[in-house]
């Protein structure tokens, strides 16, 4: 299951990659080169395979990418009139409702009426949300080049870059962290996030070493944020920095320090779903506070899988099957690893069985759980148990599913956060 309808076919993704490459060559003055011609040749087939909507989208993307190389000094800024203001609101609403083609078209009409950096920033956000980090990075980088003082632009650029050119992003992150005092704290925190992602393929010893390198930098970063309350990026930098410190300490086994950092961030912003989820996961199984944190994160519509995963487990363990089913279904709509989705499918199957759903529905969920993660032995055994119960209906009232303990699911979540995406 994917969270939202995709903004393009796999072929469209190929076209996007080629267009970004072609525009880079054009920007470098190599638009008439053999290299550019080879990119065009490679694009011929994919372009022909696009449907009309995708083809138009690709063509307008190509047009928008020209703005990245346009000399900003030549862009005439007209005063924003009421029509333009109305259009801007429409564009933002279209983005909010994930009507990305319309949002992009409306932003195009605003060219010359909003500042070029703001235009590129908004275009970047659209493509980022549509899951095209390569394009988002082009626009965020452009915004950052126009206004190098805007740390949000720079951080967003680095984040997008890390998704499609991770090695380049890692090198950039190393440069930032090597001279952290020269960069905005928000950019430093983003650099730490990128380096944290390295741990997904690092040994335990390398991970510990990396955290020991990053912790003093992040603590220095926190001190800078606290010392300069007037910086525009401070709130985001503070939340991101304490979040990183919390995760580093959590993964080093220092839970109390981790909880302290997460709590410090939540004092500043009680609605930071990432911090709520992080503290909820860390404290899961120890009391009501964890559940309250996770429920708050879920109420906030977090796009992280953790609140839904842990709440689904909690509701299952407390026989709140309808709540469990709903949490599983919400969790399956956000980004998460196959292992996480396998757990959610398994628990959905159990909740459905307990709620008396048709056996085919339950079976489909169990099968999805095993398909997503062949190593999910509990899903396999619970499926067998379910099938056996169908043959002896009298046992259905005394179903005894095998379930992970709170400690086991917490451990699972911890490992997934290290090997998955940083909170």
């Amino acid at each position: 299951m994917v969270p939202y309808p995709s903004f393009g076919s796999p072929t469209f993704s190929l076209v996007v990659k080629g267009l970004v490459e072609l525009h880079r060559l054009i920007n470098d003055g190599k638009g008439d080169s053999q290299e550019a011609e080879a990119v065009r040749d490679a694009l011929d087939g994919p372009l022909k395979a696009l449907n009309r909507t995708e083809k138009e989208r690709a063509q307008w993307l190509s047009e928008d990418l020209y703005s990245v190389s346009a000399p900003t000094a030549t862009i005439i800024q007209n005063a924003m009139n009421s029509t333009a203001q109305h259009r801007l609101i429409e564009a933002l609403e279209a983005r909010e409702s994930r009507d990305w083609d319309r949002a992009l078209a409306l932003f195009r009409e605003l060219k010359g009426q909003i500042s070029p950096d703001l235009l590129s920033y908004n275009r970047g956000l659209v493509w980022d949300e549509a899951d095209y980090p390569a394009i988002a990075a082009e626009f965020f980088n452009h915004a950052s080049q126009i206004d190098p003082t805007n740390a949000h632009y720079r951080a967003l650029y680095m984040q997008s870059l890390s998704l499609y050119e991770p090695e380049t992003a890692r090198n950039l992150a190393r440069e930032v962290l090597a001279n952290d005092r020269k960069h905005d704290p928000l950019v430093v925190a983003q650099a730490a996030t990128i380096r944290f992602q390295e741990t997904s393929s690092a040994s335990d010893a390398q991970t510990v070493q990396l955290f020991r390198e990053l912790i003093p930098i992040m603590e220095r970063n926190l001190a800078r944020v606290e010392a300069d309350a007037g910086r525009p990026s401070n709130a985001a930098a503070y939340e991101s920095t304490v979040g990183k410190l919390g995760i580093f300490y959590e993964l080093l086994g220092n839970s109390s320090a981790a909880v302290d950092y997460f709590s410090r961030g939540l004092q500043v912003n009680p609605n930071n779903d990432g911090l709520l989820a992080a503290r909820g996961v860390l404290l899961y199984g120890t009391g009501a506070r964890a559940i309250a944190d996770l429920e708050r994160a879920a109420q906030l519509g977090s796009q992280l899988a953790w609140p839904y995963l842990f709440l689904a487990h909690h509701y299952l363990a407390t026989s709140r099957f309808e709540d469990c089913r709903l949490m599983c279904e919400t969790g399956l709509k956000v980004r998460g690893s196959d292992a996480v989705k396998s757990e959610l499918e398994e628990w959905r199957a159990i909740a459905q069985a307990e709620l008396g759903f048709p056996s085919d529905t339950v079976r489909a969920a169990f099968e999805a759980a095993v398909r997503l993660d062949a190593s999910n032995e509990l899903a396999r055994r619970n499926h067998v148990f379910f099938e056996a119960s169908l043959k002896a209906p009298s046992t259905r009232l005394q179903m005894k599913w095998e379930q992970k303990t709170a400690a086991a699911i917490r451990q699972f979540g911890l490992a997934e956060r290290r090997f998955g995406v940083a909170a």
Binding site: I26, G31, D32, R40, D41, D44, K48, W60, L61, S62
Partner: protein, 131 residues
């Protein structure tokens, strides 16, 4: 630089057909009549935007083609199946209107070299059309 197309088979912008890409050549060296050939369009604005020279971006947004190439037109007849020059026929794509693509293919099985010569012989019939 005589405002006529460049004859060749190394680029899709040249007057010619690239073996293995635009046309299929059999073991005997003849062009296979499989409705493949040199790509053409009923008018230049409907060519893929990556093939339209960048200087025409004010007409076709997003155009990213090489500026050292041009858009050419040949004749003034309708874009429909039929012989268009000695040994050559136009085969528009199948499908609902409007048809935006077709190929110039050999009218009968010929050696690849003959097909390329037939295409090259049309060189003087092409003229730049970027209006």
């Amino acid at each position: 630089m005589d405002n006529l197309p460049v004859v060749g088979t190394t680029s899709s912008s040249e007057l010619g057909a690239r073996p293995g890409i635009d046309i299929t050549v059999d073991a005997a060296g003849s062009v296979v009549l499989d409705s493949s050939g040199m790509s053409v369009a009923p008018e230049w604005r409907v060519i893929d935007f990556t093939r339209i020279p960048r200087r025409l971006r004010h007409i076709v947004p997003g155009a990213t083609g090489a500026n050292n190439t041009s858009c050419f037109t040949m004749g003034a007849g309708p874009f429909q199946s039929g012989v268009i020059a000695n040994g050559l026929e136009l085969i528009p794509d199948q499908g609902p209107a409007p048809i935006t693509h077709g190929v110039i293919a050999p009218a009968q099985v010929v050696p690849e070299a003959q097909f390329q010569t037939d295409l090259a012989n049309t060189r003087n019939a092409w003229q730049i059309d970027e209006a």
